[in-house]
């Protein structure tokens, strides 16, 4: 094991990989700081570039960019009252209220340090618990995998904000897209409509670029964008007095670390949800709940730690089971597959130095966040002057070249276009994107494990509940399925009051 750790360290700390990490850090901070450009988009845009790298630098680049973007999303929260990424939305009001009181440097300092603490905590949990979980996962059969996939898909469809019905629609369509191409069981091409380029299935990279980047570009051009007023504030002294504040809010930070990591681990739930839940839990147990929404340092610390902890935690199901915890890890899994590294328990046997490299990349990225984040805060006003009207056309060209680069055909550009339109349409109609993407990534896994299990059991569903772990996973999944029904009964009187 020591030998693997050393070889991973040697690869990670080579000048080339360090340069890649530094470059993606700057890229992530920039993208995350600009409202309208998300951490997921930063990851998706990196894919075509990482395509030509070895697994360790490729994943290190995406890990760094997503962690940095997650923190940088707090900068416009404080200065514009507009979250830079959805995961900052939970505490935007608090960050901005502090700015109004002339404490922008305090609020951004809390965000920066708690982000780094959360990220490191999640990374430590990842490094400690992933290997033993992986040896447990080696005993898993198709029944456990089937339920685990289904649990991930279910949480992504049900826990997302908005209606579970739309989550199910999103999920079913994503799973359907995953069935396009040759069916691995029967060898029959499905839904290719005679197009030879579809026989291998819909390629993941242009799909991601489509739904996460092209769709945002379309959205930007379809709507008039409100003019934002940038708060003119002093941003000096980001670190001054932070030691005292962090110590005072230590309980909130610990809560954010633990909850964030746990929610990140649940397949299907990611940083956005982690921030919201940690914020409301902190408020519920706070001695000063009236401060929440009006500049609560406690809420800021809890949720700021939670979203970054979730980014790290999401890699546990991704690496151990090959089941992505959120949209970002879905992209990372796709990239690893393309590089011939199959995430899942065997990755710890076959590519141990890749795994240790990923663990260390997390620590490096989150430590690097403190100095680089400080620079980003000091340059915050300059970054926020970047106009989307200039950035969006450049991102569009980047999307086209990036999709083309995957297999050097313009078909991929067409796929990115098609999924950009689908993504735009889904966002306009309030259908969440994450279940769709998880469905595309997990579809083949669900179908194969389902069919294998059905064949093993001779068509009986009872076998799906026979093994203890499978039964446990099944129970949780079914409870989540039934939860909207229960909620429906509770809310009925409310609905009757409101005839609309």
């Amino acid at each position: 094991m020591m030998a693997h750790i050393l070889s991973a360290a040697a690869e990670l700390f080579s000048p080339y990989v360090m340069a890649v990490i530094l470059g993606s850090a700057v890229f992530g901070l920039f993208i995350g700081a600009i409202p309208g450009l998300t951490a997921t988009m930063a990851t998706a845009l990196l894919v075509p570039i990482t395509f030509y790298m070895d697994p360790v630098p490729a994943v290190a680049a995406m890990v760094t960019a997503s962690a940095m973007a997650m923190f940088a999303g707090d900068i416009p929260s404080a200065l514009l009252r507009m979250p830079g990424t959805p995961a900052s939305a939970a505490y935007t009001d608090d960050a901005f209220a502090l700015t109004k009181k002339g404490m922008a440097h305090v609020s951004l300092g809390i965000c920066l340090l708690t982000s780094a603490i959360g990220g490191i905590f999640g990374a430590l949990v990842l490094s400690l618990f992933a290997p033993p979980l992986a040896s447990l996962a080696l005993k898993f059969s198709s029944f456990e995998y089937f339920w685990l996939c289904l649990l991930g898909l279910t949480t992504s469809a049900f826990i997302m904000q908005g209606s579970p019905i739309k989550g199910i629609i999103s999920l079913s369509l994503g799973l359907f897209v995953s069935t396009i191409g040759i069916d691995p069981v029967s060898g029959v091409p499905r839904f290719t409509f005679g197009a030879p380029s579809l026989i291998g299935g819909v390629s993941l990279v242009p799909v991601m670029i489509g739904v996460f980047a092209v769709a945002e570009i379309l959205r930007f051009y379809a709507h008039r964008n409100p003019k934002l007023a940038l708060e003119q504030v002093e941003l000096k002294g980001v670190f001054s007095g932070q030691g005292r504040i962090l110590w005072r809010e230590r309980k909130a930070i610990a809560q954010g670390n633990v909850l964030g990591t746990l929610i990140g681990i649940v397949p299907g739930a990611g940083a956005d949800i982690a921030a919201w839940i940690s914020y409301s839990v902190a408020k519920k147990f706070s001695r000063k709940p009236e401060e929440y929404g009006r500049g609560s340092e406690e809420g800021l610390a809890a949720a700021g730690a939670a979203n970054n902890a979730a980014v790290s935690g999401a890699y546990i199901p991704a690496l151990v089971f090959g089941i992505p915890g959120d949209a970002i890890t879905a992209i990372v899994i796709g990239v690893l597959f393309m590089k011939g590294v199959n995430p899942g328990p065997t990755i710890f046997l076959n590519n141990p130095s890749t795994v240790y490299g990923i663990f260390m990349a997390f620590l490096v990225a989150n430590l690097l966040m403190i100095p680089l984040g400080w620079v980003a805060i000091r340059c915050g006003r300059v970054i926020l002057k970047a106009r989307l009207a200039i950035l969006m056309p450049v991102i569009l060209v980047f999307c086209m070249v990036g999709s083309f680069a995957v297999d050097n055909t313009v078909t991929a550009v067409g796929v990115a276009l098609a999924f950009g339109v689908i993504g735009y349409f889904m966002e306009e109609t309030g259908i969440p994107i994450a279940p769709f993407v998880l469905g595309i990534v997990l579809g083949p896994l669900v179908e194969q494990n389902f069919l294998t299990s059905m064949m093993k059991s001779g068509g009986s569903f009872i076998a799906f509940f026979d093994r203890p772990i499978a039964a446990g996973l099944a129970l949780v999944t079914i409870i989540i399925w039934l939860s909207p029904l229960l909620a429906l009964f509770r809310r009925r009187p409310l609905l009757q009051d409101n005839p609309d």
């Binding site: 079913s172 092209v214 070249v401 735009y424």
Partner: protein
């Protein structure tokens, strides 16, 4: 791009689910005598059923009361515009069909100039910016990442690229 009513969306999803089931049924059945009792259409038709059921539920339930923030959000956005997003789609379509003959650099420059001017930039600055960006992206992908970006019209000057 019209804001869709949830009921319309539900009806559309029922139709889409029906189409998925139809397509799945058209696939060949399970191979007789093999161990596989489920054909390639089995899983997709389950998805079709799920889509249809969710569509029915959405159509029956109808629109929900807007959650806090939703309504003001929609008002702030105003009516969606058509021309600019269509220009984005047109640019991508044009790239799919023309990039091989025209080449990456000219295509990218035209697209950038058009979209930057839609964004309110003047022609000369848009031209300069698009030139700089196109060359930067070309160098990154073509020289660093070794992606064979099409040269198209610039082929005679290939030695300079």
């Amino acid at each position: 791009m019209v804001k869709f009513h949830d009921r319309h969306l539900g009806v559309m999803m029922v139709a889409l689910g029906a189409v998925i089931i139809g397509l799945a049924m058209a696939l060949p059945g399970p191979i007789t005598g093999a161990h596989i009792a489920y054909g390639p259409g089995f899983f997709p038709s389950l998805l079709g059923v799920a889509t249809m059921l969710a569509g029915v539920a959405l159509a029956i339930r109808g629109p929900q009361a807007a959650k806090d923030g939703d309504a003001s959000d929609a008002e702030a956005k105003g009516r969606p515009r058509f021309a600019a997003p269509l220009l984005v789609l047109g640019s991508m379509l044009a790239y799919v069909y023309l990039s091989d003959t025209v080449g990456f650099l000219p295509m990218s420059m035209v697209i950038l100039v058009l979209l930057l001017m839609v964004g309110g930039m003047r022609f000369v600055s848009a031209l300069l910016l698009s030139l700089a960006t196109s060359i930067a992206i070309y160098l990154l992908f073509s020289k660093v990442l070794m992606v064979p970006l099409p040269r198209g019209l610039l082929q005679p000057w290939a030695i300079w690229l």
